[in-house]
């Protein structure tokens, strides 16, 4: 029992690291092995995560639309998404004759790879992180903006006007909303004084930034949620794949597993965005503490840090899903008005407020 309590993700990771270091003599080979193991763990984590998110999305959508949702395959329909995956596996991965075949097949790979890269600096639990680099926040925001290249590539190479229109819309959208996302991330970086993810989490030991940062941080949290919903092309900002206007937008021509990779990328992106929001604003894996309530804080410490992280992340995922099933899609002009006339000026003023607050030390 005592042994069981001491096991944590960080102890497993460091144990594995030490074991590889002693058993494999070559330093290079040990490092490569460790990377491969980390990558495999990531895949083993992400694919079931996408199943869970897909099931969650369908159930949340159903309940919000007063329906039942999937309930035939498996208990309560839990295996529905597995059945869908099997169906997609058996489908023909068609490449249109007129398309640019190399780019057409490369585009879904680029999207998935950018998602996988962006997940690297996210802290899943206490001292459990794939790559704790010193510019974590900057890295994530720059990697995630590469995804637009994948979308543009998919739209362009399909040789289909719907795909191209969807991709162009997506390009305009991501380029504009990137600014607000960046500015709201900066407001946390100003308070923390570091771009490193672990530093940002540690700085919230006495309280999460959303509680300590007064109204400006709440505003930047809301702006981050809105802008990142736009950046991952989810409703109400799903102009890139607007079903009613563009059939399916940039992935109209994709089928089979190539289409499944777009879905995979969409759900991983959703997870990443929520994980970043949870890390920056809600304290990542940091437990919930209230001032001097020692007993309460102690109970909170007993909940494993990975559960804290996943709980916060899923709460934000739920909010983003609720956005999708509540709000109607925006027009292109409304989309750009929202960004350039509202979100960007507000987040600029907000950044100044946060800076003043940080200089004067007004936050808790």
């Amino acid at each position: 029992m005592n042994l069981f309590l001491t096991i944590s993700f960080s102890s497993i990771a460091s144990g594995l690291h030490n074991w590889l270091g002693t058993t494999i003599q070559s330093h290079m080979l040990a490092m490569v092995t460790e990377m491969v193991i980390a990558g495999l763990c990531l895949l083993v984590f992400l694919v079931p995560l996408c199943f869970v998110l897909g099931y969650m999305e369908r159930k949340v959508a159903a309940f919000m639309q007063i329906r039942l949702g999937p309930n035939r395959v498996g208990p309560k329909g839990t295996l529905q998404i597995v059945a869908d995956t099997v169906k997609l596996l058996f489908k023909e991965g068609l490449t249109p004759n007129a398309s640019d075949k190399f780019l057409f097949n490369l585009a879904p790979v680029i999207l998935v790879v950018t998602c996988m890269l962006a997940i690297a600096p996210i802290a899943f639990a206490r001292d459990f992180q794939i790559w704790d680099l010193s510019i974590g926040v900057l890295y994530v925001s720059s990697i995630s903006s590469i995804a637009v290249i994948g979308i543009l590539m998919a739209g362009w190479s399909s040789y289909n006007k719907y795909s191209l229109l969807g991709a162009m819309r997506s390009g305009a959208q991501i380029v504009s909303y990137e600014l607000s996302v960046g500015l709201s991330l900066i407001s946390i970086v100003i308070l923390t004084g570091s771009l490193r993810m672990s530093d940002i989490v540690m700085s919230q030991e006495t309280g999460w930034w959303i509680f300590r940062g007064h109204i400006p941080i709440i505003i930047s949290f809301v702006i981050f949620l809105i802008a990142s919903t736009a950046e991952i092309n989810r409703a109400p900002f799903d102009l890139a794949e607007a079903e009613q206007e563009l059939t399916a937008g940039f992935h109209t021509e994709y089928s089979g597993m190539k289409f499944a990779m777009f879905l995979l990328a969409e759900y991983i992106n959703l997870f990443i965005v929520s994980a970043i929001a949870a890390t920056l604003f809600l304290g990542g894996w940091m437990p919930f503490h209230i001032g001097h309530w020692e007993a309460f804080n102690h109970i909170m410490d007993f909940i494993p840090s990975s559960l804290w992280f996943l709980g916060k992340t899923f709460a934000i995922i739920f909010i983003i899903m609720q956005f999708r099933w509540t709000f109607p899609r925006m027009r292109v002009d409304q989309l750009l008005t929202l960004e350039w006339k509202y979100l960007l000026p507000i987040s600029m003023v907000n950044t100044i407020l946060v800076t003043v607050m940080a200089i004067m030390g007004w936050h808790f």
Binding site: V60, F63, M64, Q65, I66, R67, L68, N71, Q322, F323, W325, T326, F327, Y342
Partner: protein, 158 residues
Amino acid sequence: MFLKEYFGTIYKTVKSLLTGMKLTGYYFTHPKEIQTEEYPDNRATLTMFDRFKGEVVMPHDENNEHRCTGCQACEIACPNGTIKIITKQELQPDGKKKKAIDTFVYHLELCTMCNLCVVACPSDAIKMAQTFEHSVYDKKQLKKVLNNPGSKIMEGVE
């Protein structure tokens, strides 16, 4: 003035978005609001609502008597020839001949459940039933005769 309008827009937007989220949140947390029914499973307890129109039927009482006088108002009212009434001349006890129905033919495959025949009927002889499981393998089975064999018109219905 401009600033007032600007922040007024933001206030109105946030307020209306939150109203929407409150409603969907209410639906999410209250599964009893769900309208969907698991149809083949709940066949035993399934009750259709009053105004559901499944098919035209002709009610008969315990003496095998219906209320149809054979006036053919329903046949005239039907927009796509669903109803075909074959009449006969029936000899009354007092020696007079009277028009009565021989067969009331109803083509379910042509019916659009528009309810016009039921509205047109002057003697309330036909009504809409709430059954809806009509699928059959042969089209011929959809042609129905609504009056029971050996049935006759109820006393006092003119």
